[in-house]
Symmetry: C2
Subunit: 149 residues, 2 copies
């Protein structure tokens, strides 16, 4: 299964951005993402390590963004939560006695690096604020359609 961590992370960060001034509880986030609060807390742990959020334990605890939504780029979010490669290299070391087998892995590794870089560059074109703007825009369009009915 392709991991949903990135999708959930962007969702959670967008929720936090929408409530900048107060600490948000994992249970509340979990309701919106439609998952368990522990899943959210695990995610927030990764986002905390990346310096994107801070949490507070105890009574009236919760989580906040550390930066303005316009300063958080999606490649940072990706980096924080996605651990897998777009494609994996060989599961077993290829036969070193074969001309191709003995030298193909570094070539594929280089291509892998280039793909990774391009993915990150694509994502760096979007800030969290861009995502929120687009979400709100879709919301407005929906409402208009409902009014027409």
């Amino acid at each position: 299964m392709a991991s949903s961590q990135f999708a959930m992370a962007v969702h959670v960060l967008a929720m936090l951005a929408n409530n900048c001034d107060e600490r948000i509880k994992s249970g509340y986030l979990a309701e919106s993402v439609n998952t368990n609060a522990v899943v959210i807390r695990r995610l927030l742990c990764d986002l905390h390590e990346a310096g994107l959020v801070v949490s507070q334990t105890g009574y009236s605890g919760g989580t906040c963004l550390t930066q303005a939504p316009s300063e958080i780029r999606l490649d940072e979010v990706f980096e924080a939560v996605v651990k897998t490669e777009v494609f994996g290299l060989h599961p077993n070391k290829p036969n070193p006695e074969c001309d191709i087998g003995s030298n193909i892995v570094p070539v594929l590794g280089r291509i892998q690096d280039e793909v990774n870089l391009n993915v990150r560059q694509t994502l760096s074109g979007y800030s969290l604020q861009d995502v929120i703007d687009e979400v709100i825009q879709i919301g407005k369009t929906k409402k208009k359609k409902e009014l027409v009915k």
Copy 2:
């Protein structure tokens, strides 16, 4: 685990390109990739569906490329064997009563599409021949170093 199908596919295609005039057996390919022949045959099945190879059953059977290595681009190979996304969307449908939850999925989907497109564009910059050239180049460099010793 990130699937190694793409890496193995490029490896196998490079082997076929290196032996254009004869049919190559799955067992021989498996030795170079260092895996089981059935794993290779499953892979060849996908590559056949994509029109990149043809196989023949029976005595003196085996597999050949259908095109020149310079005409096979890596995005075609990727398309043929990789089924997963760079990142997955939500495992469960987000809460529709939440402003973010109700509208974030299509936004993420659009970004997903853009990432996919960029990955394919990156890979389309390489032909199978390019990979083979690079592999051979590395092989030559290695031999030089050995001679120096």
